[in-house]
């Protein structure tokens, strides 16, 4: 089944739409799906042109395509556990929160908190991601726990904060403090970053650009070769964060 949701013109297009109900399993059941426009509860049809093509017998067979002014839509794919969502543009905050399975593809940029506390599944963002990409909620000590988040562009501050499992791959640069408080999982940064991996206790972070202001609380532990983008690079290996008795591994291109 393919469900195409195209945003309708709105009198106040800047008012965000909160749409955690846009997940494949909800379309399978043909529920009366409602979303919030600001503090007003609306029927999905009031804000979107809805087109449905083909049948489905399980959520795995449901593909939701979002088009139009999608950058103001928040929480798409929250608690998603099957199927696929394709966003043909930008997406608002909190996309893929707590997602446990399925796939989200974003053709544009993603706002902050992409894949926050994700448990499984795949998110692929073809543009840039905002702050706290694949991180934990405020105060939560375990962030993303499984699955994969791939960002082809850059990411903002605190990418993969509290990462506990799964894989995060930022092809471009990361801003301040990527991988802080990491406890497990793998973070790969294709470009540069600032102050990575503070307080890290576990997991692996690979940085193929320059790690600016890398903390002195990591201990050099030899070198190794890593492959990235079809090329092989010699990487400096660090262990830490010693200040936190951490046993994480950071590999930085030499």
């Amino acid at each position: 089944m393919r469900v195409i949701l195209k945003t309708r013109p709105r009198a106040k297009p800047k008012i965000p739409i909160e749409a955690e109900t846009i997940i494949p399993q909800n379309f399978l059941r043909k529920n009366d799906i409602r979303v919030y426009e600001g503090n007003k509860e609306r029927k999905l049809e009031d804000l979107f042109y809805v087109t449905t093509e083909g049948p489905a017998v399980s959520p795995d067979q449901v593909e939701v395509i979002l088009t139009g002014d999608t950058g103001v839509i928040k929480r798409v794919g929250e608690y998603m556990n099957a199927g696929r969502i394709i966003v043909e543009g930008d997406i608002g905050m909190h996309c893929g929160n707590f997602m446990s399975a399925g796939e989200i593809i974003i053709r544009g940029n993603a706002d902050s908190w992409l894949g926050r506390e994700m448990r499984g599944g795949v998110i692929r963002c073809e543009g840039d991601a905002g702050h706290y990409c694949a991180a934990g909620y405020r105060g939560e000590k375990r962030g993303m726990r499984g699955g994969m988040v791939e960002v082809l562009g850059n990411a903002g501050d605190f990418a993969a904060e509290y990462l506990s499992g799964g894989e995060v791959h930022i092809h471009g640069n990361c801003a301040d403090l990527p991988g802080v408080e990491m406890r497990g999982g793998t973070l790969t940064i294709g470009g540069d970053c600032l102050r990575p991996c503070g307080n890290m206790t576990g997991g692996t972070c690979r940085i193929f650009g320059t790690a600016h202001q890398f903390l002195p609380t990591f201990r050099r532990n030899g070198s190794e070769v890593a492959e990235y983008g079809g090329k092989r690079y010699r990487m400096a290996v660090y262990r830490g964060d010693i200040a936190n008795r951490g046993k994480g591994t950071v590999l930085i291109r030499e």
Partner: protein, 566 residues
């Protein structure tokens, strides 16, 4: 005013001695009256269960720690959202909802009076502001004295009258209702990074013990003739083996009041653990219930936990730190100068956790093993054990052994080796539930005299009509209907006005805040006491004249005046 007439009601009103009679209830000017004229609006209850409005005698719904619980768990605020509808505000939150969310949910369950379990005196303004925004329940505030420096100095000096004077001044200043002791001495010790581990341990730097604080405050409470007794959260909450502390505390309670208990122990489930570690924790509900059964001067509430996500919040700072050391997740810790403290941690009670299963069983056991329902009230210590919206489920568990058996199959199978619940056959009846959800609370809080908790002429017309027909239902079997019925009233009537119908709030509320003013002789008026004034000048960050809560914070304040016997 034309009045209101509820016809054909199946009334259970334990305080008036009514048990299952089909009656009409006449209401005029917000009060129950003998009769109303023919022009009265008529509600046909159709033989449905009709009870006095529910009273929650221990719940955390308003105040600084509650609000902190809201903003430290933004994910909780995503749950339970309802849109603005009619007179109803937008609400959100599950375990710690917005104030209007609390009010509407209580109202749809037929609750019309709620006691906030712990108000820090210094932060009372915030509590009262949130009371005003909880419009459908009359509110009361337990006021924390557990770590109050002036109280502990009076205890050290063995000066009960001075302790009473401090209580009288503070209750009047912060518009509080009753004395609350949370981990007496322990919260102050926590300010120094320590705790007390029995009621005979000395509180660091003050030279007093929890037992001395408790005994002095019980006597001070009775000297002031306060409506409620001392309301205590015992030391060692949540610690395996803590039942001994609970028994010791119960043993301190003298029988000083003929109308109500002399000591109210709250959330006793959290204080009824045997064993010495989390690995061998077991239920000691039988010992605790036996002690309660033997002492009519003691009343308790269950502190039932229910499985699922919730938020723990208490003035017991050291206990929350211990919980933090177990979870290593979000934690808030707070000190209130010269008075008390608090801590907050979100938790998840799991059926897969043996400890959680034992806790779940203990709460039910306390209710089932306490012979006199007037001595054991239904509460979850909302939201610590579970959000109050779980009350209907707890009622059904108490009324149906079949439901308990069904639940016991879903929990950790090892549980039966650690608890006696599997061997308890008792099923509570409608009358006992009516006692445990409103009548006993009214009696324990001492608010029957202002018309709460009963339906006799002159009482406040707070009434809950549930879509349940006791003559046609067997709660032991039809527990699903019991749960659904107690979750949504057909009508909730507050002070003579229908405020909720079929679970939906239909009018704006106008609640009252009930507080206590104990009149003391001039020599015990602390406003001019040099030592008391000096405490503000030397230690408090607020001036004494700025400390009292102004009347503007209580738009509909109702004070209960008492004459102190000092």
């Amino acid at each position: 005013m034309t009045g209101l007439l509820v016809k054909n009601a199946y009334v259970i009103d334990p305080l008036s001695g009514v048990n299952g009679e089909i009656m009409d209830i006449a209401i005029r000017d917000g009060k129950i009256v003998e009769e109303v004229g023919s022009g009265a609006v008529v509600i046909d209850a159709g033989g449905c269960l009709t009870l006095p409005g529910g009273i929650d005698s221990h719940s955390h719904v308003c105040g600084t720690k509650v609000n902190f619980g809201r903003y430290m768990s933004p994910e909780d605020m995503r749950a339970g959202r309802t849109a603005r509808k009619g007179v109803m505000h937008v609400t959100s939150g599950y375990s710690v909802p917005t104030t209007f969310g609390n009010s509407y949910r209580y109202s749809s369950m037929g609750y019309t009076t709620v006691l906030e379990g712990a108000m820090a005196p210094l932060e009372a303004r915030h509590t009262h502001e949130e009371f005003t925004a909880t419009p459908h329940q009359d509110m009361l505030a337990n006021t924390l004295f557990d770590g109050n420096w002036s109280i502990m100095e009076a205890v050290r000096d063995k000066d009960v009258k001075r302790a009473a004077a401090v209580v009288a001044w503070t209750l009047a200043a912060v518009k509080g209702f009753a004395i609350k002791l949370t981990n007496p001495g322990g919260t102050e010790a926590w300010g120094w990074g320590e705790d007390v581990h029995s009621i005979r341990d000395e509180v660091p730097h003050f030279g007093v013990t929890p037992a001395e604080i408790i005994e002095t405050m019980i006597q001070a409470n009775e000297l002031l003739n306060l409506p409620h007794s001392v309301h205590i959260h015992c030391n060692n909450l949540g610690v395996p083996g803590n039942y001994q502390t609970t028994l010791d505390t119960i043993g301190l309670a003298p029988d000083l009041n003929r109308e109500r208990q002399s000591l109210y122990l709250t959330h006793v489930q959290f204080h009824s653990y045997g064993g010495s570690t989390w690995k061998d924790i077991c239920s000691k509900s039988e010992e605790v219930a036996r002690a309660v059964n033997a002492r009519p001067q003691v009343a308790i509430d269950m502190g039932q936990i229910m499985f699922g996500r919730t938020t723990t919040m208490t003035a017991d700072g050291p206990m929350e730190f211990k919980l933090y050391m177990l979870h290593h997740n979000k934690w808030s810790n707070h000190d209130v100068e010269l008075e008390t403290g608090s801590g907050i941690i979100p938790v998840y009670y799991s059926r897969k956790s043996l400890v959680n299963c034992v806790m779940w069983a203990i709460g039910l056991e306390l209710a089932l093993l306490t012979k006199n329902p007037w001595q054991c009230m239904l509460a979850t210590d909302n939201p610590n054990g579970a959000p109050f919206v779980k009350y209907p489920e707890i009622i059904a568990l108490l009324m149906s052994r079949k439901l308990r058996e069904y639940e016991m199959k879903a929990i950790d199978p090892r549980t039966e080796h650690f608890v006696p619940l599997f061997a308890i056959d008792r099923e509570l009846d409608w009358y006992e539930i009516a006692v445990m959800t409103r009548a006993a609370q009214a009696k324990a809080l001492g608010i029957t005299r202002i018309g709460k908790g009963h339906l006799a002429p002159g009482a406040e017309a707070d009434i809950a009509i549930y879509p349940l027909k006791p003559d046609e239902l067997d709660p032991a079997v039809d527990y699903q209907q019991v749960m659904a019925g107690f979750a949504k009233t057909s009508y909730t009537i507050k002070r003579g006005r229908v405020v909720a119908r079929d679970g939906e709030v239909i009018v704006e509320g106008a609640n009252s805040t009930i507080w206590t003013r104990a009149e003391v002789p001039p020599e015990f008026d602390l406003n001019k006491d040099p030592e008391f004034v000096k405490k503000f000048e030397q230690y408090y960050t607020v001036r004494m004249r700025n400390y009292p809560v102004q009347d503007i914070y209580l738009p509909r304040g109702v004070s209960i005046r008492t004459e102190a016997s000092l």
